[in-house]
């Protein structure tokens, strides 16, 4: 591999510095420089920081990687955690995959920073907002640039915290703060899997460096990751499953998706950046980054594909009935992420990344568009009270429409190509005999789920568009006349993003069109060094080879073209249907349909009661167990019975014995006499003690000086060494036996264990054992 050193740490460093600057000084600036100038400084610093990252990335990718033909750039900043064999460096790597991610993060991030200047123009916490936004970018860049999984995890949790902070940005609203907390905790549940997955990989590979893992995986089926089992399952399977748990949390897949719709509480540009374009795609990135590892775990791959497809459809059906403009987009995001996981689960790494990129464009555009709408409507988000806004905000409406076409998969917009590639893979990639419910191959089921989800997608997106921008305005008079005008600073990012949404498909021009217009599948070629890592294995570990199938014509061009036609048909069907029902506001037909399928409609609009179910299953029980531990465990058992009980028992004993200590000397004397009598009686009436033959005889028939054995006989199995104590009873020991024993002992070392043990009978000076109680002759 062709690599060179490069100062990559500047890429995350600048947003980080921007964040620190605005966190420390943002508030001061607004106060001391005046509102207008202060805001200028704040956003110029923030935008400058991310712009620097963006241009630095572009130059690194296009001048160094492409221009000088390097496969990757590396940067070892410093050793981070070193202990024993564990070495985790703060090492960054920019390879073909992280290059794509960095370009998306910094590019879309820059546009969203610019948009935020307009959107947050009146917010008093301007500095804090931009600081968090910059901090997020820094964390996200560390996530994708990290060479070690642990470093990726740093970014992974870092973006989680920024997400938490930005969702709860308007923290005086308790619901928003709660939404942030929910997001963080659900992500933590996922991170739990991530950590355990890392640990498992570490145990086998001995390192968490991605290169080391790749080397360990290069052996294919012979890799220790497959050969070693834990609980009877190959470690690769368990580890990838655990990592995937992390992905479900971060990328809002079933079962950890419910935080994402709530996350819409944050400012809308944040939703565009974090909860659409970048952070939520981290799970997909992780799987593609570790494609060689996942390729060794076919069971996990099947699970990923199933979860992805199921999430795609499940979330899409919820999206149909939502009335909050941002909620629709949120469920749409969950659904689109499901597509990416479907692709990843099929081993179609390129398709997953392709959809990630195009989705970043059109979903960011949609979210920013919705932000513009919300701003214009004085922070109203209910689409039932909108309509006809195209007249007031043509740029927003136009870009929104383009993005709708893209996400619905209408030719030739970006989503058409990326979604189609995924569905084609789903159809063509025969399941590897892992999961065939009812004898049906998994891939047909997955394809059907994906296609159905595509229909829903097209429908709810155009429903959203028509309800928002077409027809007559259904809100109040005041809003209509005093709407907030479009401002270039918000329109410019929209236009750029819509442009990318329109032409982004060129990145992944299908081979089947290759003959017509000569454009290569740019992305596939670009990602070749990454995806080829998993493409070299034989047998059933062949998911990566799927890419080659397409080249070599295993999938006939006829099938591919048919797939495209079906996809396009589905997109148009959804569009037409939505247009019929919602062109002029919610029509009666729509209401009738809702009534006819009222059960489905209710379930969908209640989001299938998932939140409520989780509340009953997890939230309440944890609270109950906590109370139980506190009330019963600590207060009743440990403190009540244990501590107070002991104290009470001591008290009772004290009261009982107090009676004897009444100061009556005669009584003291009587008890003393009585006690001594008992003691003497025990000693002299016990034949063993009085005759001194509690000591065992040795082979020669003489008594050894190992008195603890005698004690052991008395006290059962206890063999505490009691020499010192036993000295008290040495009175009875015959002097001669001792001398004989010493003579027999001989030089030390022959009997390692016993020899020194016999020593303590005497001190070097010949003094008796503990000074005096004994009667050494």
């Amino acid at each position: 591999m062709n690599e060179t050193e490069f100062n990559l740490h500047f890429i995350p460093l600048f947003p980080l510095l921007g964040a620190v600057f605005n966190l420390l000084l943002g508030k001061q600036l607004l106060r001391s420089l005046g509102d207008r100038l202060g805001r200028e400084v704040v956003h110029l610093v923030a935008i400058g920081a991310i712009a620097f990252s963006c241009f630095f990335t572009i130059s690194a990718v296009f001048e160094v990687m492409v221009g000088q033909d390097y496969d990757r750039l590396v940067d070892s900043v410093y050793p981070w955690i070193v202990s024993g064999d564990l070495h985790i460096g703060f090492d960054l790597v920019l390879d073909h995959l992280s290059a794509v991610m960095c370009l998306v993060i910094t590019g879309v991030g820059l546009l969203i920073h610019i948009f935020s200047v307009g959107y947050m123009a009146k917010d008093p916490d301007y500095g804090r907002y931009f600081a968090y936004l910059n901090l997020f970018c820094a964390a996200m860049l560390i996530l994708v640039l990290g060479k070690s999984l642990v470093l990726t995890f740093v970014g992974w949790e870092g973006v989680g915290v920024c997400s938490y902070l930005l969702i709860g940005f308007w923290f005086t609203d308790d619901a928003k703060a709660t939404a942030g907390r929910k997001a963080f905790i659900m992500n933590r549940v996922g991170d739990f899997g991530f950590i355990l997955g890392m640990l498992l990989i570490y145990t086998v590979v001995g390192s968490l460096d991605v290169d080391a893992i790749a080397r360990a995986c290069a052996l294919g089926e012979q890799s220790p990751l497959v050969q070693k089992l834990i609980f009877g399952v190959p470690i690769a399977t368990v580890a990838t499953m655990l990592l995937f748990v992390g992905c479900t949390g971060k990328s809002a897949q079933i079962p950890l998706f419910t935080w994402l719709p709530d996350a819409m509480a944050g400012p809308t540009p944040v939703s565009a950046l974090i909860h659409a374009a970048t952070m939520v795609t981290a799970g997909v990135y992780l799987i593609v980054r570790l494609n060689f590892l996942f390729a060794l775990a076919p069971v996990t791959m099947a699970v990923i594909a199933v979860i992805g497809a199921a999430t795609a459809l499940f979330a899409a059906t919820i999206g149909i009935t939502q009335n909050d403009i941002k909620k629709v987009l949120a469920y749409s995001t969950v659904s689109q992420l499901g597509y990416m996981f479907l692709a990843a689960g099929m081993g179609a790494w390129v398709a997953a990344i392709f959809h990630l990129v195009t989705h970043a464009f059109f979903k960011a555009c949609l979210f920013l568009g919705s932000g513009a709408v919300i701003e214009a409507c004085h922070h109203n988000q209910d689409i039932r009270t909108m309509g006809g806004l195209r007249e007031k905000m043509p740029v927003t409406a136009g870009t929104f429409f383009v993005s709708c076409l893209a996400i619905a998969g209408i030719f030739p917009f970006a989503g058409f190509f990326s979604k189609d590639e995924i569905l084609l893979h789903a159809y063509a990639n025969e399941s590897r005999g892992i999961f065939t419910p009812g004898g049906m191959e998994l891939n047909y089921i997955l394809y059907s789920l994906g296609a159905l989800a595509a229909l829903c997608t097209s429908f709810y997106m155009f429903r959203l568009y028509y309800l928002t921008f077409e027809g007559k305005f259904r809100g109040d008079h005041h809003t209509w006349h005093h709407y907030v005008r479009e401002h270039w600073i918000m329109s410019l990012p929209l236009v750029i993003l819509a442009g990318f949404a329109a032409i982004g498909g060129l990145l992944g021009w299908p081979h089947v069109f290759g003959g017509v217009i000569h454009i290569d599948h740019v992305l596939e070629q670009w990602l070749e060094p990454i995806t080829s890592l998993s493409g070299t294995y034989g047998g059933e570990y062949t998911v990566g080879v799927r890419e080659q199938f397409l080249h070599e014509g295993h999938v006939g061009s006829g099938m591919e073209l048919t797939g495209m036609a079906i996809g396009l048909g589905i997109g148009i069907a959804g569009w037409v249907f939505a247009r019929r029902l919602y062109l002029d506001g919610p029509s009666e037909q729509a209401a009738m349909l809702a009534k006819r399928f009222s059960a489905l409609h209710a379930a969908s609009s209640a989001k299938y009661w998932v939140d409520e179910i989780y509340d009953v299953l997890f939230v309440k029980p944890v609270r109950m167990i906590g109370q139980l531990c506190h009330q019963v465990g600590d207060m009743l058992l440990i403190d009540g019975v244990g501590v107070q009980g002991t104290a009470g028992a001591v008290g009772v004993l004290g009261t009982l014995t107090k009676a004897w200590h009444n100061g009556n000397v005669r009584r003291y004397l009587a008890s003393l006499t009585f006690g001594v009598a008992i003691l003497l009686g025990v000693i002299y009436l016990n034949p063993q003690v009085s005759r001194g033959d509690i000591l065992p005889k040795n082979a020669a028939g003489e008594r050894e000086l190992a008195p603890d054995i005698g004690l052991r006989r008395t006290f059962g199995a206890q063999s505490v060494n009691m020499d010192l104590f036993w000295g008290l009873f040495k009175i009875h020991l015959p002097g001669k036996a001792e001398q004989d024993a010493a003579a027999r002992r001989g030089p030390p070392g022959g009997e390692i264990i016993r020899a020194p043990a016999l020593e303590p009978a005497k001190n070097p000076d010949g003094r008796p054992l503990n000074g005096g109680a004994g009667g050494q002759p």
């Binding site: 966190l23 202990s83 064999d85 709660t178 950590i195 001995g206 220790p224």
Partner: protein
């Protein structure tokens, strides 16, 4: 001979005496003098870092002079990787605590400052002592000022809490003292009549298995109460809740660490056979503590009690790391001690700030504070996230090392270590649950309680008190290597010598008398193999299963045992 440590031990006592002789009315003067001495102590402790030889495992800055020669009791002190940073944490937190209490201690100020200084000597002494009796003296010395701090300057039920704290601790101490004397007698026997209480000399005695078990659990009883380990943790919430802020900070920041430090320094190295067998029980108790502490913390209504229970949860991780007897586990446990000291210390300081302003600790009294106290909120948030183990803050490094150590390398002492770690990791989720809930209920939401509207944000003094702690929380998370590189060699050596002595103890399993290590060492060429053959090897780590690869540094055969100091009178010399 190096007098640095002696200076560190004497200086606070001198300070306490000076403060005590000041005129009674001059409370602020006493406070100021106390701060001056504490700061001076911190400055004097800094050469410990600069003079510390990185990469060296053994004791440094050693001083060893006879104290009670008849019984071989020495004034033997020294610093190594396990104690270095905790000592610095002590010298850092003490001045901050005294300064932080500038306004909140309203009666007997001089006595308070003197108590804090004596406490500092006690803590540092316990950390540097290399003689069991010396250790015990300092161990008990810590108890008295802490008892006074809780009992005199605490909240409403301070006396009950102080007594509970005192008696709980005394029970453990009594057992530990008995075991110490037993061990010295065993050495006297094994060595042929040499009295010593020196740790390094006693290290050379191999007890019989049963004796090891009794001594180990006697030591652990004392340390477990200090940690505190479930189920002997109930003194902690009371003591923390009732103690004044500086008391809570020192209690959480340093005192609890002495429990885990004691395990690392005494209980595990001295009785490795029993430790190897008891580790499983310790680990299970630790994990129960992690989960149990988190669950109970979740339902607390008193902010201080919540943080106290979070300590129970976090300290469980440290014990888990120690029980794994691995390099990463030991290093992680030591680092996590610092992390917990800083984050929980900061959280207690923060709750102290609230208590000082509102005289209540009830969470429900607050809400929406972020609006009126932005600095406070920012500091609280960093401490809270650090405590929750966010990567790039201090809490993650230690936790990660501990789980790596336990998961991959803990198989020699732990059964089913991956399962244990999995359960422990649930605690990480729960940690986020209760800490974020606390944060939200204090800081977020509308400012509903009118009493909170006029709350002042942190003043300059308070900000300066918080600043070093917060800065360290960030610095030690981003760049922990200077800290780890000084801890790690000691951990590696400790693991190696633990395994060696454990192997020797196995060789001596059928023995009935204590013997010196040297008689067994030649049968312990490959300790890990002997241990694995006896107890099974459940390690998952790559180097454990692939003996063909050259073993890395940590798995290298342990260094030859150091000559038993002073005590090694040859056997033949006996009459």
């Amino acid at each position: 001979m190096n007098h640095l440590i002696t200076a560190l031990l004497v200086l606070p006592i001198v300070g306490a005496l000076v403060v005590a002789t000041l005129p009674k009315a001059e409370t602020k003067l006493a406070h100021g003098v106390g701060i001056a001495f504490a700061v001076l102590e911190f400055l004097v402790s800094l050469p410990l870092i600069s003079g510390f030889a990185v990469g060296q495992a053994g004791m440094q800055f050693e001083t060893n002079v006879p104290w009670i020669a008849e019984f071989g009791i020495n004034y033997h002190v020294g610093v190594d990787g396990f104690s270095l940073w905790i000592i610095l944490l002590t010298t850092l937190l003490t001045p901050l605590c005294i300064w932080g209490a500038w306004n909140s201690i309203d009666k007997r100020g001089a006595e308070f400052v003197a108590s804090m200084l004596v406490l500092e000597t006690g803590m540092i002494g316990a950390l540097v002592a290399l003689d069991l009796i010396l250790f015990f003296v300092f161990w008990e010395l810590m108890l008295i000022p802490m008892y006074l701090i809780i009992g005199v300057w605490g909240s409403e039920q301070r006396v009950a809490a102080a007594i509970k704290f005192f008696i709980y601790t005394m029970v453990g101490s009594a057992l530990m003292l008995a075991a110490m004397i037993y061990l010295a007698v065993a050495h006297w026997q094994a060595s042929g009549g040499v009295w010593t209480f020196d740790l390094q000399a006693l290290q050379q005695v191999v007890l019989t298995p049963q004796a090891q078990a009794l001594c180990f659990w006697a030591f652990v009883a004392s340390f477990a109460i200090k940690v505190p380990l479930f189920p002997v943790h109930t003194w902690l919430p009371d003591a923390h809740t009732q103690a004044p802020t500086p008391g809570s900070v020192i209690l959480a920041g340093v005192l609890l660490k002495l429990g885990t430090y004691g395990m690392l320094r005494f209980a595990f190295p001295l009785f490795p056979l029993a430790a190897g067998e008891g580790a499983q029980i310790l680990a299970i108790l630790a994990i129960i503590g992690i989960i149990y502490g988190a669950l109970v913390a979740y339902v607390q209504t008193d902010a201080k009690r919540l943080v106290a229970y979070s300590s129970v949860s976090h300290m469980g991780f440290i014990v888990l790391g120690i029980a794994s007897v691995s390099t990463q586990g030991f290093t992680g446990a030591t680092f996590q001690s610092l992390a917990h000291g800083l984050t929980t210390g900061a959280l207690f300081m923060a709750i102290g700030v609230l208590y000082e302003r509102r005289h209540t600790r009830l969470i429900s009294e607050f809400g929406g504070l972020a609006k009126v106290m932005p600095w406070f909120t920012a500091f609280f948030m960093i401490a809270m996230l650090g405590s929750a183990g966010l990567p790039s803050l201090v809490g993650f490094v230690g936790e990660f090392l501990i789980v790596v150590g336990a998961f991959a390398e803990g198989g020699l002492t732990l059964i089913n270590a991956p399962v244990l770690v999995t359960v422990a990791a649930v605690g990480v989720i729960l940690g986020a649950v209760y800490l974020l809930l606390l944060f939200q209920r204090l800081m977020f939401g509308p400012l509903t309680n009118p009493k909170n509207e006029g709350l002042a944000d942190l003043g300059l003094r308070e900000r300066l008190v918080f600043l070093p702690v917060i800065a360290l929380i960030i610095l030690m998370g981003v760049y922990p290597q200077p800290f780890l590189s000084r801890i790690d060699p000691t951990s590696q050596a400790a693991v190696a010598s633990f395994n060696l002595k454990r192997c020797a103890s196995i060789r001596h399993a059928l023995g009935e008398r204590p013997v010196m290590m040297e008689t067994l060492v030649d049968r312990c060429a490959d300790p890990v193999a002997v241990i694995a053959a006896t107890y099974g090897d459940q390690r998952l780590s790559a180097n454990a299963s692939a003996p063909t690869t050259p073993p890395p540094a940590a798995a290298a055969p342990p260094p030859p045992p150091p000559a038993a100091e002073g005590a090694a009178a040859p056997q033949g010399g006996q009459p």
